[in-house]
């Protein structure tokens, strides 16, 4: 008796399952038409070959140029050679913004961002390093004493004007050496990362197609959302706008010693790079195509998540643009505008970090979890 009841209820349940299942499959063929966009190996290959490796290639070229201009300048410091090295620094800094988000794999292994772009820079520490002539860029204390922010100070802020800056280099062999060493360290690290990506790591990366913690997609998505949240939203805008501390701190902007139009250009370049990385190229694998193929949408309104993210990026990019032309002046005169831009970026953070990560079912930790 008991068994027959069970069998009966079983068949009822299965039949109901069949009916309801079919109905939904017919209504929503999203995933079944777009399954090629769910090919993670293709997505990873696209990232490796059209974003990461060409990006590092271009950034590496700019660094090489910076290195040679630095050599010219330190060999014969003049106002002209200072301006040349400054221009090379500026171009390398802009190019760096396009690869800063790739802090996974080889870049994460050497903590590339720590060596390249932690600001505000530690002026007292730099002066001490120059005076003593002994320093180790691998130490934790040395993180804010190197990279583009240190160069910002060394090329723009070390003395009152260009003549005085040139004089300071003529007067100090230690200072010439420090400048050379900072650039040398960056060039060495970038070359190492590029070598890895052009060698075995590319294969490792595109074949690790899972979604667990440690899989390529997990590394990529976590790096992407952490970058947008911490480095772009908080670092470039939130901290100088005073969102974190309650008081605006214009001196904490990126490229503070150079100022002018550069800081907002750096932030906008970084934001545009994030948009490019997400949207990809039409018809090619991309995060956007992947999220679209998953059929992720707001079940209350039916809006596609991928489109919501694209649209929100457009809004925050527009807000960011209003902070120009001089980010420093904006932070001083109207930090509220920066707080507003931060707010729009925060909306994007949530869409990426919560909705996109959830839809992609990417793990962030290795620890067991039986369902949130």
């Amino acid at each position: 008796m008991k068994k027959s009841i069970l069998l009966f209820s079983l068949s009822v349940l299965l039949a109901a399952g069949g009916i309801s299942g079919c109905k939904d499959v017919l209504e929503e063929p999203v995933a079944s038409t777009g399954t090629s966009d769910l090919d993670r190996k293709a997505l990873l290959t696209q990232w490796a070959d059209t974003l990461v490796r060409p990006g590092y290639q271009r950034a590496g070229t700019k660094l090489t140029a910076l290195k040679s201009q630095t050599a010219t300048f330190t060999a014969a410091p003049t106002v002209a050679s200072l301006q040349a090295v400054r221009l090379a620094w500026r171009e390398a800094y802009v190019e760096w913004q396009k690869v800063e988000m790739f802090e996974f794999g080889p870049a994460a292994d050497v903590s590339l961002v720590n060596h390249f772009n932690i600001y505000p820079t530690d002026v007292a520490g730099i002066r001490q390093n120059i005076a003593s002539g002994s320093y180790n860029f691998e130490l934790a204390t040395a993180i804010p004493q190197q990279g583009f922010p240190a160069l910002d100070f060394l090329l723009n802020g070390v003395a009152a004007d260009d003549n005085a800056i040139v004089q300071s280099y003529l007067a100090s062999a230690n200072q010439r050496r420090y400048l050379t060493d900072v650039v040398g360290k960056m060039d060495q690290l970038m070359t190492g990362v590029q070598t890895q990506w052009n060698g075995a790591y590319r294969t490792t990366f595109i074949n690790n197609t899972g979604t667990n913690a440690g899989s390529s997609l997990s590394l990529l998505v976590n790096a992407f959302s952490r970058y947008y949240e911490h480095f772009l939203r908080t670092g470039k805008i939130g901290i100088p706008a005073g969102v974190m501390s309650g008081t605006a701190a214009p001196e904490k902007i990126e490229a503070y010693y150079h100022r002018g139009t550069l800081p907002v250009q750096l932030a906008q370049t970084a934001h545009a790079a994030v948009q490019t990385a997400f949207n990809g190229r039409s018809g090619q694998p991309s995060l956007k195509a992947y999220v679209t193929a998953l059929g992720a949408k707001d079940s209350r309104t039916g809006q596609s998540l991928a489109q919501l993210i694209t649209d929100q990026f457009v809004v925050s990019a527009a807000q960011l643009a209003t902070l120009g032309p001089d980010l420093y002046a904006t932070m001083q005169a109207r930090p509220a505008a920066a707080v507003q831009a931060y707010g729009e970026m925060q909306k994007a953070v949530r869409l990426i970090k919560v909705d996109m990560t959830s839809a992609m079912s990417v793990s962030v930790t290795y620890v067991d979890n039986d369902g949130d």
């Binding site: 069970l6 299942g21 399954t35 809006q303 949530r350 919560v354 990417v362 067991d368």
Partner: protein
Amino acid sequence: MAFGLLILASVVRFWAKGWIAELYLQPRFFFPYYGLEFIRPLGPYTYGLFAVCGLCALLVALGWHYRLAAVGLFISFTYIELMDKSTYLNHYYFVSLAALLLAVLPAGAYCSLDARRRPARWHSHVPRWTLDALRLLVGIVYVYAGLAKLNSDWLLAAQPLRIWLPAKNDLPLVGFLFNYPATAYVFSWFGAVYDLTVPFFLLNRHTRPYAYAAVVMFHVLTAILFPIGMFPYVMIVAALVFFPAEWHERLLARVRRLLRRPAAEVRPARSLVYRPRVRLALLTGLALFFLTQLLVPFRYWLYPRELFWTEEGYRFSWRVMLMEKMGQVEFKVVDSATGRARRVNNSDHLSVLQEKMMATQPDMMLQFAHYLRDYYARRGVQRPQVYADAYVSLNGRLGKAYIDPTVDLARQAESFAPKPWILPFDDEITGL
């Protein structure tokens, strides 16, 4: 015995992965359970606690000083489980309950070192209800896990499997199937039917072998698909309790032959008979235990709002793999005297796991808010106010604001009462 070995393996695995340090030593703050705040990690002695737990598990497996070891296992394992909410797992809870039952039941009466050393302790037969108690516990786990699946998200939207399966589409052979929503429906319905019925098929002599094969297949599949650690293996072993004694004896005999040990000496059968008073006490205790077990998962009915959203009454209810829930929460601390506001970087205080778990669970946010209040008060902030700005997505719904950002959590007390500062879900999940 297998149970003891399994727990030992769990402890070793936990240790080997460095999780003791990561989860219980490095964080500055822990999330204790309401009313059990005195249970917290013991600093470096936490390693000792795990060692005790592993040792007790080994002793239980060997049946050496069985009773003491089983009690020790229950206490140490439960203590570990209760140290931090962010590591809550249903199967830890199951292990605790099973250890409690084992501490009370005469599982050391046969095939144990105790029984070998002290023949007076040896019994070939134990009362049937002692085994039935373990079967009932396993049955409750399955049936309640099945009942929890009878809701519109699981059955009608195939959530969260619809999100989780495509993430495994790179599995060999079958991976491509996971791209289709139909697969998620099949899995959802099969999972619900399986959970609801498998204990009954295990009880029946005729269906038992097939049911057990299903148990093994089901749990191996979940082990491949989901990061649920030891749970599948715990259940595969636990379901063995449904097999009759003769089957276990044949298994033991086979193990003996494999180890080239002599067959067990034939002894006259001797039944364990409790004194009437002990028997009454045990049976009353078990009845109360199971009554609690049957009722506790339904305590969510006492809360007015959607269980999956507020998670009021969610834990300790065999709700396994039911939600894809993710969130982000930022805290703002305001100085009451100056009005100066600052934002907290959660990762300065919490581990990655703690942050992730807190981001979807209001009671943990409240605990962290109280910690922040005290932390900033010590650093000279006048009567700190703490506000949470939280955003949570659930089972494929786009995220939405989760906590009322105007409520000062520093002044909200924890209790079992509903939390009015959780914002409404604005959607409905029907079913149990």
